[in-house]
Amino acid sequence: MTLLEYRDLTVDYHSPAGDEHAVRGVSLSLPAGGSLGLAGESGCGKTTLAMAALRLLPRTARIGGHVLIDGADVTEMSWGKLRALRWAQASIVFQGAMHALNPVRRIGEQIAEPIRLHSPEVTDVDGRVADLLERVELPTRRAGAYPHELSGGQRQRVMMAMALACDPRLVIADEPTTALDVVVQQQVLERLSALVTHEGIGLVLISHDLSVLAATCERVAVMQHGEIVEDGPATQVLRAPKHPHSKALAAAFPVIGDPAWRHVEPATRDPAPVLAAERVSVVYGGAFRAVDDVSLQVRPREIVALVGQSGSGKTTLARCLLGLQRPTSGVVTFGGQPLPRSSRGLREHRRQVQLVLQDPTGALNPRHSVYEAVAEGPRVHRLPGDEREIVATALEQAELRPADRFTGRLPGELSGGQRQRVVIAGALALGPTFLVADEPVASLDASVRGEILALLLRLRTDLGLGALVITHDLGLAWTIADRVAVMYQGRIVEEGPTEQVLTDPQHEYTKVLLAALPAQ
């Protein structure tokens, strides 16, 4: 019996600026107890598809076609029947639990709310809530907590408990693990699949991360521009995709240990480090050690990946290396010399070591044109030479060719990948020898990641630029890094050549990180 069926569904958003076709003729089905993954990049329409199942779309949306849950047509239902169906038959685990939960009501109450609404005959609501919390492995006494008192992973578990509150037949989970630590992500997904399998609930899992879907779902459908471009068994879509878009998505998830995914050849390097941290510690408030006695070296023309989860101290360490943060103890050296302390000295240092930030949208002043953004550095340093030439050269090096097609544009007119190239060009305009890239591709769509990583490699070959890449993504490290350093709670727990660390990890934490990767 088909639990969920989309029959030629179309969703259009009306606005004074015109119509936006979010979903164009999608047909999918899910059997009872089955699991379906919906993959795609932001804006492809997957969230709209999910919300359409419960008719939760805004008033500006027009629905064509049908959505059937357990045979009943949701698109034609009366409001009364729809309200009864919502949550009792199908529920949603929303993205971004911090905003999807009411910030001023206790989580126990929020879980109890649908129970009281749909099952007024239940007398021991508190008991039901406690049972649900247990099922998602939260301590039952946390029922009195407010959402901001919980961690990200705990909030997701609350969302899961809430979704299961009325024993639905179908659960739709929209990006339930984005913004979560890789380890936490694995545990939350594991719990979700176990619960769903145990109760025989149908699951639709939405994510931009193909590997997550492949590990959790039986089938995966790939969406692009509102249409389904590929639909098949999960492992096949991940490992042997047919459609070009699926291939682009899959390319973002390298198989660690597979030499086909490794784009770097080992080479002998000059052993004298260009940038080094010697026993650097950063201590806040006398007690919290963000960076704990870390020694790290990067050699010329080398790409080192500094891997760790959020809160591991990797960003703090990077800022020390750039001179943006003064370490509490220890020394940062560049070219053998300690970093200057004076502001003039630091400015000189900036010409040698530059930073590429994570979010290219925020990293560019929306009012400044591309030209102004790239020229900013040379202007501040009053570099000699023709400014236009410097800007044009930098843009070409960042592969934005021809340069004058881009100089007049505003960041808002560019794609995410292009913006990141502008940020890189801005760094290159100063002629540095070394780049620090903080999560350079994390905010970009999967299909664009490969290009930016390839650019970093090419910059190494053409300009001799070394790089320290900070990331939580081990796959990225496998693809482009010569060496890997793993950071955990402020300390470097393991370090060495990439092939060695990622295929034969020694430290417990590295092993946990590798094991947490889905679909390896």
Partner: protein, 342 residues
Amino acid sequence: MTDLAPTANPVDLVAPERGGRSGWVFAALTVLRGLLSLVLIVVLGFFLFRVLPGDPVRAMTRDRPGDPASLARLRAEFGLDRPLWEQFVDHIGDLLHGDLGTSYQFKQPVTDLILGRLGPTVLLTGTALVLAVGIGLWAGSRAAWRHGSTFDRLMTSTALVLWSVPTFWLGLIVLLVFAVGLDLFPTAGMTSPGGVPGFAGVLDVAHHLVLPCLTMVAVVYAQYLMVMRSSLLEEMSADYLTTARAKGLRDNVVRRRHAIPNALLPTITIIFLNVGMVVAGAVTVETVFSWPGLGLLTYQALAVPDLPLLQGTLITLSAAVVIMNVIADLLYRLVDPRVRTA
């Protein structure tokens, strides 16, 4: 009971370390901040009245120049012939005893004058506030929920116009129309001349209260309406309302149980923080309607100018606003759980 195998080492189930001041520490700090403000007000008052005018006695008597002997006598009376820091110490000492000096024009202790006029002001501003808050919050939330409707547009335009009207002028027009033109209400004061005993006296006061109260409400309610409206409009786009709808709740339940309580939180603080505006309104309204409160007292003081009395009213009115601010901070922490762990 669940019979699923537990996850190996779930890392996110330990309660995150959240620093947070305990409630008592926060309350103490807030009150301390208020006291600091009060101290600063006293210092400012001293500076304004003893230091700034150069010669306060000359400032007070500029409309009535007297011979040097009487001026000297006045100076000695106010202790102005002593060194500045001595005056300051005396001033603080007097304040701690509740002595705000003697009024130049009434020849009575300032403290007595202020206490005598406190009641009428509290009556007028209290009534006006309650009405303004009630009407403003109700109209504001209705306007927001029916964003773009005729009601909404009407409310917003009236609020804009009322914001542009000077309070005193509105009072004058109200007086002109209702008291003089239509002869429905008395033109001045809190009670009829000679006073009225018993319950009829209460009605008499109420009769006198109508016009000044109406004037104050008209100007103040618009502010609360706009704040509540924008606060609720902000909440209406929040994601957790979608969650509430997804659970199957009816629209008006979503509004009543989720949107409005959350929108009320910032509104409450703004109500208290805007007491300064209410005080300004009290000064002008009482002057126009000759309502015997602190506002009228301030007006009477500035006419002379009666510097000790003016200083007394400045300190009293400022202290009232400071106290309101302290209450606002404490109240907000009480009702918004997010602030407790900040």
